[in-house]
Symmetry: C2
Subunit: 225 residues, 2 copies
């Protein structure tokens, strides 16, 4: 029973923290807000997680570990079904987008902060946050890059790399602040409808991926730092 209490409290804190970080960012969310949301004492956080950084690390690991696994699993599953032929780019995109979008929808009635958290985290400046994710993401990234290379041998590697970034970027943006999208489009786009989001993204990006060579003229040398 002590065990059950423990799991329960830990989980409650993680849930509350996930929500708070998603809404306010890591710096914006205070531990005091979090413990209030979780209905526990401030000291409890330190008992279980040691520090605010420790808490954030736990929040990220709880979600991104399984997500990474699912990304790899789904891709492998699709490849098995293709029986050695290269995957259509639509399938690769589905494997990229389905796990994060599905993660959002797990418990039907309950509000899920995971997706907002994911969007937030992908754009968070904090070095430590990035560090935690880099290991996770690099493996997934490599797997998808390889799949894309196989399916689109004519597209230069560097182009594929850029395009992967564009997809993650668009995804992060949608996940990050769904309410903003809804407001800006006056309701025409509803990010809550994940099935629709998936379909839109696959249509849009699969066409982009199949584009072959760059036919732009080189631009004057201006640079972003």
């Amino acid at each position: 029973m002590a065990k059950r209490t423990e799991a329960c409290r830990r989980t409650k804190i993680l849930d509350a923290a996930e929500n708070a970080f998603a809404d306010c960012g890591f710096n914006g969310a205070s531990l005091r807000d979090i413990v209030e949301g979780a209905g526990v004492n401030l000291a409890t956080v330190y008992y279980y997680f040691g520090s605010k950084n420790g808490l954030m690390e736990a929040v990220l690991k709880r979600r991104f570990g399984p997500l990474r696994q699912e990304h790899l699993d789904v891709l492998r599953q699709f490849e098995r079904e293709a029986k050695g032929r290269p995957l259509p780019v639509e399938k690769i995109l589905e494997a990229m987008l389905l796990p994060p979008l599905r993660l959002a929808s797990a418990p039907a009635g309950k509000r899920q902060a995971v997706t907002r958290l994911m969007g937030r985290i992908l754009t968070e400046p904090d070095e430590q946050t990035q560090e935690i994710l880099r290991g996770q993401r690099s493996e997934v990234r490599a797997a998808f890059l390889k799949a894309l290379q196989t399916s689109l041998p004519k597209v230069p590697l560097a182009d594929l790399q850029w395009r992967i970034e564009f997809v993650w970027g668009a995804l992060a943006f949608i996940l990050c602040n769904p309410r903003k999208i809804e407001l800006e489009t006056h309701g025409a786009c509803n990010p809550a409808d994940a099935g629709k989001v998936l379909a839109e993204m696959i249509d849009f990006f699969s066409a982009g991926f199949s584009a072959t060579a760059s036919h732009r003229k080189p631009q004057p040398n201006f640079s972003i730092t």
Copy 2:
């Protein structure tokens, strides 16, 4: 001379704040860091801007006002050149992407935080921040939506709306943390080369925009909150 001093100090504070907000987000950057960076006294900020919120508002307005204007100008210029014919989608994309990318490169030798700030701001959760931008962005958004409708009459309006979000999202992601992109791709993608970024994005997204109908099967009803 008093005037010059004033302008100088105000500007120095704005520059320092821009950098700090871009690097650490609004919550993460403290006024004390900012005044240190600007080489002025803490009270000076309150004299010129009234509060931290006031400072942020000034930082945003300094950049996003002209950017909005340039967005509209470039689009109008292209439309004039087209002499009444619908713009090719590549041109519309160029009008969307060139101003923010060019903004980044204004002073050659000097580090510019504008772009990182823009990326950050597009994903910042803070309500007040969003409020400030909404007015600015809605006009620009409407102009581009109209141009796209004219050029791509067969693509349903809702699809165009989604696709605009995807483009902004990808752009924000690239601008937001250029260093991360460079690390993740092991140098294959260099966001500092804005000309290359522009070319890559136009190639990729123009193909996507021309995609017509959604041929996905509807997904099970899962939803993002």
